[in-house]
Symmetry: C2
Subunit: 490 residues, 2 copies
């Protein structure tokens, strides 16, 4: 065995253990008895401890020094292992464990404060989390920019400055589009009615199948916050059911199918190697978004969904497929990011990105965060935040230490915009297939050009090779203006 | 921290990891997508490798040498860790891994051979498994008896000679009872009809609740072969549904509730310590059997079940509760252990025990096993085995290397007999409660006298302290003769 083979064999077992930990997380959110929380915390803690020990094992350093990769894929595997090893070793064990301890408590405190609409119950804890994360960022940055060091964990190669420049390009056109849409005369109708649980689930399964979800390597369960989980031969999705809002169920499902299909679509030779996962959160989100929005909320697919829903629910309050398309894409004012639409979503992200970048840089104090949030929301959305639960308290991310995570949602949208333009050009028959409830031509193009590569190429290069062009916001903005211009007769 | 504390802290994490591995096994048998088998094999392999490394970690030996337990419970914890450490270190890693490899293949070969009714496809593999298990037994026995070394893994303290003597006492009375029952004039009717899947599951849940199953620390799913899984705050059960045979579902459920309740009933101070699991397979089986048989198939509880089934299925082909009690306890000739009744079950075990003891001792060749099985079955059951799938190929155990496991089923029945006599004397109100569908008085007695102790006392001593008498077969045999004497009017 060469040093490279030893390294990969060791890594393979680490990947298998990390997959076990992920499966345990799935269990916790879907099927675990409610009385098992302490036990599960100990089980997760034990798994994390084993994983941390393996990821910082000094033998990795020794193998890396002498490993001789023979192919481009092997060289990339070595690069990814070295990157992870360096990062894990830069953070002192004491700090890592303190962050784990504090954030696990902070999540509960945040949830309670949100329920009570009382930021003062949470902000002192957030201050503590922020202090620890800045310490971690300093350790990771090794003299470089703190925010970049955190962002790099989720979107390798991206920088705060780069994202800021991208967002500056996007903001004016998004703000203008939002104003035009909300001011338009002819507003789409809302869907109303009662949509029974089991019928929703049956249609959600049909949606997942329409997008090629491989049921032999996955399953669908109910979760409070939908997520997908797992890789290779076992990537499961979850959905939720609100009996007054079936779109929530169907589009959550299609979104998670996008995530899961990415993992299931990776070349199986990469399974349990460093190349065997989606390469970044941004690219992951590009898959979930292009499934959900560019394909799922297209005129073609929504026509198919209209017919299915019309049958399943014995009629709808929306008259025809064209009206239904407008309803599916309805834009309304709102405070909540997760309930937002294609037009406004990125504005929610930009707000969070600017605030968290200032927090990490020390330009903004947690004590001033609520005011900063409210001022910015008023500026971008034109309405005042009515209560903290709809403002600074709405997202879980910061409580669990996820700084640098938010921009990957918008990067995913930008990547999806680029990919959609290329996919539409390459697969002219896609609308016809989507109208039959068959996303296969699009899914196949994405599998071939994005998904199968796993971690082989860095995120930006992956998208650029797939699209044959630079990554930029124009494709997404053009798509949004064209689509919503037509829907709202602008 | 003292050496004892260090040892227990290390052990605690090992217990948590072993609990994760068990949860992974549950996932595989209940919810895992069918295409995930290779991935799961790698995940289980990685967990086993981590667990093996921890269980043979030289630091355990160092801690054990200087650990100073302060209480009886701590002394017992040290004893159990030392026992496991010694056993794990006696088996060379090469042999352990070869056994894992060969038995995982052998199970598939056995299943195929059973489906084809072709012992010749399986016996060469069994010969290989037997050779490896004899090698393992020799390593474990350290000069002592080979079979005892294997049996000790499942029923610490039991010996082949002791079990043989026990069985010799039981066999004549069981054979005589079986002949009387099968020859009796007035045979109970069989239950016939169609019993819909969902209704069976609903009643199975009611049965589990009647036996006090704690749904906040468990759940019920479907599995091909019912089992229970987990401990402390998370012990799950499974059942199966055959639409022509609802007793299969209800009594499997009650049986597994017995196993799970044992784990859930252990003093929570013992959680994730060496005392935090059921102490042996025999004691485990005593709980499942006393729930299923002595309580579940009693006249009192079957009266409650009759009324529930009569309602749920719109009538039954059995006229009244007294007839129903006879039907529930119907004894019929049959080849299959798992379909057997209280009268014949132990005879099935004795046959396997004698054969496997001869195999391990080298007194019986695998080449002669089929003939030996058939001859013994004819002798004990009075009928010739019709085909190998109903004879030597019927059980999975030997294929996966479980030699020394079978006798624990019968030991469980013997323990259950002893416990039942003591419980009935201590809890005279039990029949009245069971007739209302409430096993709580019995369950509480078992929890107090058996379950809560976990691994604190060795199996035999545990039963003797619970019952205030010697462990022997009389209580079980008296119970069986009394019960079936009445049912069959002997």
């Amino acid at each position: 065995m060469s040093a490279f083979d030893d390294l990969l064999a060791f890594q393979r077992q680490t990947e298998a253990l990390s997959s076990v930990a992920e499966r345990l997380g799935w269990d916790q959110e879907t099927v675990m008895p409610r009385g098992a929380t302490e036990q599960r915390a100990e089980e997760m803690g034990a798994m994390e401890s084993v994983l941390h020990e393996r990821r910082t094992d000094p033998r990795i350093g020794e193998w890396l020094e002498v490993a001789e990769p023979r192919t481009e894929a092997e060289a990339r595997a070595v690069e990814l292992i070295a990157r992870d090893f360096t990062r894990k070793n830069r953070v002192p064990a004491r700090l890592a464990s303190e962050i784990a301890r504090v954030t696990s408590l902070a999540q509960g405190i945040w949830a309670e404060a949100r329920a009570n609409d009382a930021p003062e119950e949470f902000l002192p804890t957030l201050d503590n989390v922020l202090m620890l994360k800045r310490e971690e960022a300093a350790a990771l940055a090794d003299g470089g920019d703190l925010y970049d060091a955190l962002l790099d964990d989720y979107e390798p190669g991206a920088t705060g400055a780069g994202v800021a420049a991208l967002f500056d390009q996007m903001r004016p056109r998004l703000v203008a589009l939002r104003e035009d849409v909300l001011g338009a005369e002819n507003q789409p109708a809302a869907l109303t009615g009662h949509f029974p649980h089991d019928t929703q689930l049956r249609l959600a399964r049909a949606c997942a199948s329409a997008f090629g979800y491989d049921w032999s390597r996955g399953r669908m369960d109910i979760a409070v916050h939908p997520f997908s989980s797992g890789r290779w031969q076992d990537s499961r999705i979850t959905t939720r059911v609100v009996e007054t809002d079936p779109f929530n169920c169907f589009y959550s499902t299609i979104h998670e199918v996008g995530h899961s299909s990415y993992e299931l679509g990776i070349d199986e030779d990469y399974a349990f190697t460093p190349l065997g996962r989606g390469v970044s959160l941004g690219v992951h989100e590009s898959q979930s978004r292009i499934y959900e929005n560019q394909m799922g909320r297209s005129r073609a697919f929504s026509g198919w969904l209209f017919a299915r829903m019309h049958d399943a629910f014995d009629g709808l309050n929306v008259a025809n497929a064209e009206e239904f398309y407008r309803t599916v894409n309805r834009v309304t004012p709102g405070y909540i990011r997760t309930e937002s639409d294609e037009v406004q979503y990125n504005l929610h992200i930009m707000l969070r990105f600017d605030l968290e970048r200032d927090l990490i840089a020390g330009r903004l104090d947690v004590a001033d965060l609520t005011e900063a949030w409210n001022a910015r929301f008023l500026k971008d959305f034109g309405v005042a935040v009515d209560r903290p639960a709809n403002g600074v308290l709405q997202d879980v991310h910061w409580s669990v230490g996820l700084f640098g995570y938010f921009p990957t949602y918008a990067l995913g949208n930008v990547y999806a915009g680029c990919l959609n333009a290329a996919m539409r050009a390459a697969v002219p028959e896609l609308p016809e297939a989507l109208a039959r409830g068959d996303a296969a031509p699009g899914v196949e193009w994405l599998r071939e050009n994005v998904q199968r590569h796993g971690g082989l190429l860095p995120p930006r290069r992956l998208i650029e090779e797939a699209t044959g062009g630079e990554v930029g916001p124009e494709a997404l903005l053009d798509y949004l203006e064209e689509k919503f211009g037509r829907i709202y007769a602008l």
